[in-house]
């Protein structure tokens, strides 16, 4: 018996091919969703810190008479972290209202001081005028100063950053970066003096 061959589809039969157009449409929609919700999260990082519990502040304070557990920041700056007594302090004064001009913006650094534990007075590292001495140059001077301290080996590699309360966060981070780059491994932040005064 001769095998009868199926006639080609073009000649009038039903075409049994896979219709991929709806699948492609759906794929495009899914692709659009993923593209819109895609976030390159690796560009954000963190600077870790720890908060001493309020009850510990009261214990560590030299004078407990004026300190209550709900008033942790009203103790003197040096009592904030007793283990950091030997730390180097970087103090940053900022441009306040009335001092700003076309070279120096409000909340930008005005003066940078450094003080070691053995020194009684803080040493002026840079006075920023915005023309001859910009923030970048001042940070380079600070970097040189701190690197010299690290090389001498007189410090315990602890450093406290004490900025003015009105200093903008971007400059605080720039100083933090400079301190870490210069070789200080443990960098801490001190609450601003304005905040301490307000709470008192």
């Amino acid at each position: 018996m001769a095998h009868k061959r199926k006639p080609p589809a073009a000649a009038g039969g039903v075409q049994l091919g896979l219709i991929i157009t709806p699948m492609l449409d759906m794929s495009f929609q899914i692709l659009a969703f993923f593209i819109m919700t895609y976030h390159p999260s690796a560009l954000e990082r963190n600077i870790p810190g720890s908060l001493v519990p309020p009850e510990d502040f009261a214990k560590k304070s030299k004078d407990n008479t004026n300190v209550t557990p709900t008033d942790p920041l009203s103790i003197p700056e040096d009592d904030l972290n007793p283990e950091l007594d030997a730390a180097v302090t970087v103090k940053i004064r900022c441009v306040i209202k009335g001092q700003e001009d076309k070279f120096r913006a409000l909340g930008s650094p005005a003066q940078i001081f450094v003080r070691t534990a053995i020194e009684t007075e803080q040493q002026l590292v840079a006075e920023i005028d915005g023309k001859d001495l910009t923030v970048d140059v001042a940070l380079k001077k600070l970097d040189r100063e701190l690197k010299a301290m690290v090389t001498k080996g007189t410090t315990k590699a602890n450093l406290k950053i004490a900025p003015d309360g009105d200093l903008r966060q971007e400059y605080v981070m720039a100083v933090y970066d400079t301190c870490k780059n210069s070789g200080f491994s443990k960098v801490h932040f001190v609450p601003p003096p304005v905040l301490n005064t307000k709470i008192k």
């Binding site: 692709l31 993923f34 003015d164």
Partner: protein
């Protein structure tokens, strides 16, 4: 003689296109990171720092706080009226309690490591950051992290 009988049908071959699309979908599905709105608030312009570290993965839970350039809390917290440090403290205490209760229900007793992630705008004042941190401290939080932006390809600090 009609064309449909003699000439071949000129269809576009969609199969390679579909293959490519499916590969792209697979890439995005693998790399997608579903995050809360608080974690990527586009209105916050973070300061730049090269010496930052990746997020602390040892923490059990995180609370994200977004501070705008005027020192105001924005994001999901903006729906609450948290205009004073005291109100923020009470709100954070409630959040902490609910997180600890949820952890206990999951069978994790003891103190939970909850980290405050503070996303402060680069124009924000240092005192405003500390006002928020002070409320966190009073609410009983011990760990915080300041979120910053890093440059693409930045290696971060060397290991201690």
């Amino acid at each position: 003689m009609s064309a449909s009988v003699d000439s071949e049908e000129l269809d576009i071959n969609l199969t390679p296109l579909l293959d490519l699309i499916l590969q792209l979908i697979m890439f995005f599905m693998i790399t997608i990171n579903f995050v809360r709105v608080d974690q990527f608030d586009e209105s916050i312009n973070l300061p730049l720092a090269t010496q930052a570290v990746p997020m602390d993965n040892t923490a059990e839970d995180w609370i994200f706080l977004n501070l705008d350039s005027h020192g105001r809390l924005v994001g999901t917290l903006s729906t609450f009226l948290l205009d004073t440090p005291q109100k923020l403290k009470v709100h954070l205490m409630r959040e902490k309690d609910s997180m600890e209760r949820a952890a206990k229900e999951k069978g994790k007793p003891g103190e939970q490591k909850i980290v405050i992630i503070l996303r402060a705008d680069k124009q924000c004042k240092y005192a405003e950051v500390w006002t928020v941190l002070h409320s966190c401290q009073l609410a009983g939080f011990k760990h915080w992290q300041l979120r910053v932006k890093t440059l693409p390809g930045a290696k971060g600090p060397p290991p201690a």
